[in-house]
Symmetry: C2
Subunit: 70 residues, 2 copies
């Protein structure tokens, strides 16, 4: 399935601590290679191995950090 990049639309980030919490939590998921959360764009861009994790698991992790994925 290879390496996939998904751009999540995230509501509720208000500061650099918020982006850092998403980058840390999603970055710790197995199969995630890179995470960039943007306060300005209200996004989290995640590069991951599609056979090790998926959109649902990543979205759940973002939500678990207290944000909304829309």
């Amino acid at each position: 399935m290879g390496i996939v990049t998904t751009n999540f639309k995230v509501e509720g980030m208000s500061c650099g601590h918020c982006t850092a919490s998403i980058e840390k939590a999603v970055g710790d998921l197995p199969g995630v290679l890179e995470v960039v959360a943007s306060l300005e764009d209200k996004t989290a861009t995640v590069v991951y191995e599609a056979d090790r994790t998926d959109v649902a698991a990543i979205a759940a992790t973002i939500i678990d950090q207290g944000f909304d994925v829309i």
Copy 2:
């Protein structure tokens, strides 16, 4: 000199991560007994032993976390 409570007016907190970062950093100072940062009130209320730390050291620590003390 005893135990003193000082209420700092803090600008720049936008979320619970911000209040947590202040509570952790100030709470780690020697002589600090209690810290409560309030997003709504834009304050950090700190209880400390006045012979072990002071307003300047606490304010510097809050500023060091990326906030303004006014």
